[in-house]
């Protein structure tokens, strides 16, 4: 057992603290090349990570950078700096701690490069940028340890891939570098360990005591949840009561827009003036910081928030977590619940509030899964090549490199361990020339080989590459500013701003504001107190319900009777059973029925909204070819509803898997989802530069040229590297074709029910927003009829 140096041991003693077993374990294993610690929030995880560094730095003999801490959030880096600096100062240790993020000033950054601190706290993007400098070898020369915090949040994203590529680089600059990962509870710790370790190093997993099970329940309300929608406004009164009954409550929402609307309604009914704040990623930094400070000071009784509070900042005494809307994913639910009660040995308390009738079923399934510790997670594929392209460009910024050596380096990253030389060479060649279709364009001729080493053709390109480092794909956001006083309120998506006309009212930061106009890249608004807002639709991050949760829902639907569901929901399902049938896991239920002069088809796929959207696009295309004139469709996580001019008599023929696979590639090409995926891939790989020196390009301009680039490649160079990456990615992400195939493999047959009218389960779909119109024969027929009508009305039909 490694003992603490007296100075640290004494400090613990004066506070009456003792080390947790996992903290001691981390200390004992501090020489291991890689270690992953799984611990619940409040388990002293961060201290466990830093303790070995403090011990090694106690003597003051180390010069330069010793420990690098990487977190997914800038705010977390700042928070950790505060929490670490205090004990270090109290113990009087000779350790310099600094953070470096996008918010750090230019002068501080320069100084850090010249004279690095002992402990540097940063983000994956800032680290990637640091490795791009020519003096990177000097900065990282003495580095001993790297701590990756909240690694579960990074591991399944491109940010994590970029980080691990950067670590492979650091291994070269600082041989013997040890890695530590800190993670919340996850379904597959081994997978994260394999991501963290230098391949093929082993990576032992340490499990801290998870503490007592959380108490999760569904909120019982007097009013029944509505048939559709996501706001859960019916539950405002009961939620307020819960806030009153607890010390501090976190109220999680799935989207920013819903959080805004809920917050607004909460205040309208908040007769006791309970201090309640709002926190989400679209708010201005000022406003977020104010809320964070008030929270830390214990001044707030509740915060309405989104995923922006998912990660580890210590919020003090949270004793209740409320999740509004179905959690979609059991793992995230459990992690959110873990935000309550940071005191180690007390159970967390959580309430689920379904936003609509179907979500009642989903919430019950989710809380049963959480009680059973049945977490969901999908295995991640090999490392994405667009991130590798960016890594190659970053490497080139730092100086000339040898391709063989870089290839070997990249293969030490777990996710890229299986990378073929051919794939690597493709990426290198793309970075060098842009690919065949772009060979004539000077701006993409970036790398050149001289005397066997690759280097930037024009060293000035380094600035542009550095400006575009990162893999976060934000929607294009515009600042919202008060016309008077110039106060920045936050940001909205460009698409939302474009939908506004002067005079429209919307919600931001809990305020109703009036849209005045667009000035350059800023949305100008004025105050309009007490008026009803137009629905704020900005930034709707939509997750699909996970596979595991979906199959639980199907099991729950098929239990025969539903004593575990509220009466109103059980009755609804019973009625569905009488009028049509309950969807099951091994059969696919398809209902067809006429409604308001249109023919409808409702397919209960339970494959998540992304897969259903894809299925909708494929099926409507096949219906179009068969002359059935589809007009549009709408999806939820459990079903797809298509409407058109002609009835579908034989749905089984539409769903033939072989035909669907065959038509997929051709269909994918013209698809808007593909264009969106391409835009992300092309931006990460460096084909499109989001940030350029000089005036900012608006998102729409970027979209425009990325769409044209996509069309061009689709037509003239469909096998271009970026097109291949886009296809692979879309199949698993937004297109989610994998889940369609899983669904088709799961079912033994199709039950087609021809009904005379809408079924109980299908009815809520008519109220769903986000209807997708189909441009085809059906619309042409309606359009021709409309133009004929207009001609006849004007007396021009004889012309």
């Amino acid at each position: 057992m490694t003992a603490l140096p007296p100075i640290i041991a004494d400090w613990f003693k004066t506070r009456g603290w003792a080390l947790h077993p996992h903290q001691q374990d981390m200390l004992d294993r501090s020489a291991a090349p890689a270690t992953l610690l799984i611990a619940p929030t409040g388990g002293g995880k961060t201290l466990a990570g830093f303790l070995p560094s403090l011990v090694e730095l106690v003597g003051g003999g180390h010069a330069g950078l010793h420990t690098l801490y990487v977190s997914p959030l800038k705010a977390l880096a700042a928070d950790i700096k505060r929490n670490l600096t205090t004990p270090v100062q109290e113990m009087g240790l000779p350790i310099r701690i600094e953070d470096r993020t996008g918010d750090t000033s230019y002068t501080a950054k320069r100084r850090q490069r010249a004279d690095p601190p002992h402990i540097l706290l940063t983000t994956p993007e800032s680290l990637a940028l640091l490795t791009s400098y020519e003096d990177a070898p000097r900065i990282f020369a003495g580095l001993q340890r790297v701590i990756v915090d909240e690694i579960h949040a990074l591991a399944d994203s491109k940010r994590g891939d970029q980080l691990m590529l950067a670590l492979s680089r650091l291994d070269q600059l600082a041989p013997g570098l040890r890695r530590v990962g800190l993670s919340a509870t996850v379904d597959d710790p081994q997978a994260i360990a394999a991501t963290l370790a230098r391949h093929p190093d082993p990576c032992p997993v340490l499990q801290a005591d998870p503490g007592p099970d959380p108490q999760i329940e569904m909120l019982v309300t007097e009013t029944r949840p509505p048939w559709s929608g996501g706001g859960a406004q019916y539950a405002i009164g009961e939620v307020l009561e819960q806030v009153r009954a607890h010390r501090t409550t976190l109220i999680f929402h799935n989207t920013r827009a819903q959080a805004e609307i809920f917050f607004h309604r909460l205040w309208l009914e908040n007769e006791d003036d309970l201090p309640i704040g709002i926190h989400h990623g679209s708010l201005s930094r000022d406003q977020r910081e104010r809320v964070e400070a008030a929270m830390v000071a214990g001044e707030l009784r509740a915060i309405v928030c989104t995923g922006s509070l998912d990660l580890g900042i210590d919020w003090g005494d949270v004793d209740l977590v409320i999740q509004v809307g179905a959690p979609k994913n059991v793992k995230r639910l459990v992690q959110r619940i873990g935000r309550a009660n940071h005191r180690y040995n007390a159970p967390s308390k959580a309430l689920l509030v379904p936003a609509n009738r179907f979500e009642v079923v989903e919430c019950v399934a989710a809380l049963e899964a959480a009680r059973d510790h049945d977490l969901d997670g999908d295995p991640r594929g090999p490392g994405p090549l667009d991130v590798l392209c960016q890594h190659i460009l970053i490497r080139a910024c730092a100086g000339p490199f040898d391709a063989d050596q870089l290839f070997a380096e990249v293969r030490t990253v777990g996710a890229y361990a299986g990378l073929s030389r051919a794939a690597f060479d493709d990426c290198l060649s793309f970075c060098a020339t842009g690919g065949y279709a772009f060979r004539a364009y000077d701006k993409w001729q970036r790398l050149k080989q001289t005397d066997g080493l690759w280097h930037l053709r024009d060293p000035r390109a380094a600035q542009r590459i550095r400006m575009n480092i990162g893999t976060i794909q934000d929607a294009d956001l515009l600042k919202v500013r008060m016309r008077r006083g110039n106060r920045v309120l936050g940001e909205v998506e460009e698409g939302f701003a474009a939908s506004l006309t002067p005079g429209d009212r919307f919600l931001i930061g809990g305020e109703v504001v009036r849209y005045e106009g667009l000035k350059e890249l800023t949305v100008e608004v004025s105050r309009t107190p007490g008026r009803e807002p137009k629905v704020a639709v900005f930034s709707g991050t939509k997750f699909a319900t996970s596979t595991q949760l979906s199959s639980r829902i199907l099991r729950l639907l098929n239990q025969g009777s539903w004593p575990n569901l509220p009466g109103h929901t059980a009755e609804w399902l019973m009625l569905q059973g009488e009028v049509s049938q309950i969807p099951s896991a091994d059969r696919l239920l398809i209902e067809t029925f006429p409604h308001e002069g249109r023919e409808h088809l409702c397919l209960y796929g339970f494959a998540g909204q992304n897969a259903h959207r894809t299925l909708g696009l494929i099926l409507t295309q096949r219906m179009e070819a068969a002359g059935l004139s589809p007009l549009g469709f709408v999806v939820t996580d459990y079903a797809l509803l298509i409407w058109g001019l002609e009835p579908v008599d034989d749905p089984a023929a539409l769903l033939d898997p072989t035909d669907m696979r065959a038509g997929l590639d051709q269909w994918l090409q013209g698809n808007a989802v593909m264009k969106r995926s391409f835009r992300g891939v092309a931006t990460i790989a460096g084909l499109i530069e989001k940030n350029i020196p000089g005036p900012k390009k608006t998102g729409r301009q970027a979209t425009f040229s990325s769409d044209i680039l996509y069309d061009t490649l689709a037509k003239y160079d469909p096998e271009h590297l970026l097109m291949r990456i886009t296809r692979d990615e879309a199949l698993h992400g937004l297109v989610d074709f994998g889940r369609i195939e899983d669904m088709l493999a799961r079912i033994a047959g199709i039950d087609h029910r021809r009904l005379s009218r809408v079924s109980p389960l299908a009815a809520p779909l008519f109220l769903e927003p986000g209807k997708v119109p189909i441009v085809g024969e059906g619309r042409e027929r309606l359009m021709a009829a409309e133009t004929e009508r207009l001609m006849a009305e004007a007396g021009l039909s004889a012309l």
């Binding site: 070819a625 068969a626 002359g627 059935l628 023929a653 033939d656 044209i708 003239y716 042409e780 207009l790």
Partner: protein, 237 residues
């Protein structure tokens, strides 16, 4: 597959053009945006904007790939082989500027001369491409045939056929606006034939005041669909 195919309503070709009568002459406003005059064996297209991407690239602007020229020429090729005209009139702004005309890629030049072979070819000058063009055919500022004037920008002197404005319109049920012809009894404005060209809504005062009250718009696309211009002017943005 046991899907029933329904009667081929779309493929009948019955609405591949709309018949217009302009100052007594019968003209076909075709669904692809070209104008055909059967009695004269004349095909007219406007605003090809060939070389747009090169011009934008030269000016250091946004990023267009150079393929829209091929795209436009391929569509023009189809229109010519469908109608086999003895005369083709390009009604101005055929090139994005004169440099674009002289800088046209070799394969595009060859394609153009193939299209020009065996027929009269007339370049009417536009605001983007005044002056002579070194690409075969005749170059004119305007032209009159059978009592109809062909010029790039509309004037008060009717009857005339012009281009320039790239009119676009939509009716309810449509997802986005489509390029369209505008026609009254003495004036005809052609849609832009080129790929990636923007457009002006027919509700714009510039177009609305130029046309008579009984003007129609002929929407292009899969079919040529006529619709009264007045029915489009109800303030829909």
């Amino acid at each position: 597959m046991t899907l029933r195919a329904r009667p081929g309503w779309a493929k009948s070709g019955a609405m591949s053009h709309h018949v217009l009568v302009l100052a007594g002459q019968t003209l076909h406003a075709c669904a692809d945006g070209s104008l055909f005059w059967p009695d004269q064996g004349l095909l007219c297209v406007s605003d090809l904007h060939l070389g747009k991407s090169e011009r934008i690239a030269r000016r250091g602007g946004g990023l267009f790939p150079p393929y829209e020229t091929q795209e436009t020429l391929a569509r023009l090729d189809r229109a010519i082989s469908e109608n086999d005209p003895s005369c083709v009139i390009c009604l101005g702004d055929s090139f994005d500027d004169l440099d674009a005309a002289s800088g046209l890629a070799e394969d595009a030049r060859l394609h153009l001369s193939r299209l020009q072979a065996g027929r009269d070819w007339i370049w009417i000058e536009g605001n983007h491409d005044p002056g002579p063009i070194d690409l075969g055919g005749t170059h004119l500022s305007e032209l009159a045939i059978g009592g109809l004037a062909f010029r790039h920008i509309a004037t008060p002197a009717v009857p005339e056929i012009s281009g320039h404005y790239h009119p676009k319109a939509r009716v309810s049920g449509m997802v986005s606006a489509r390029p369209c012809f505008l026609a009254d009894k003495t004036r005809l404005i052609l849609p832009a034939f080129g790929a990636y060209t923007g457009g002006l809504r027919v509700t714009d005062p510039v177009l609305a005041t130029m046309m008579q009250a009984d003007a129609i718009a002929v929407l292009t696309g899969q079919r040529a669909l006529p619709v009264p211009m007045a029915a489009l002017g109800t303030g829909r943005r």
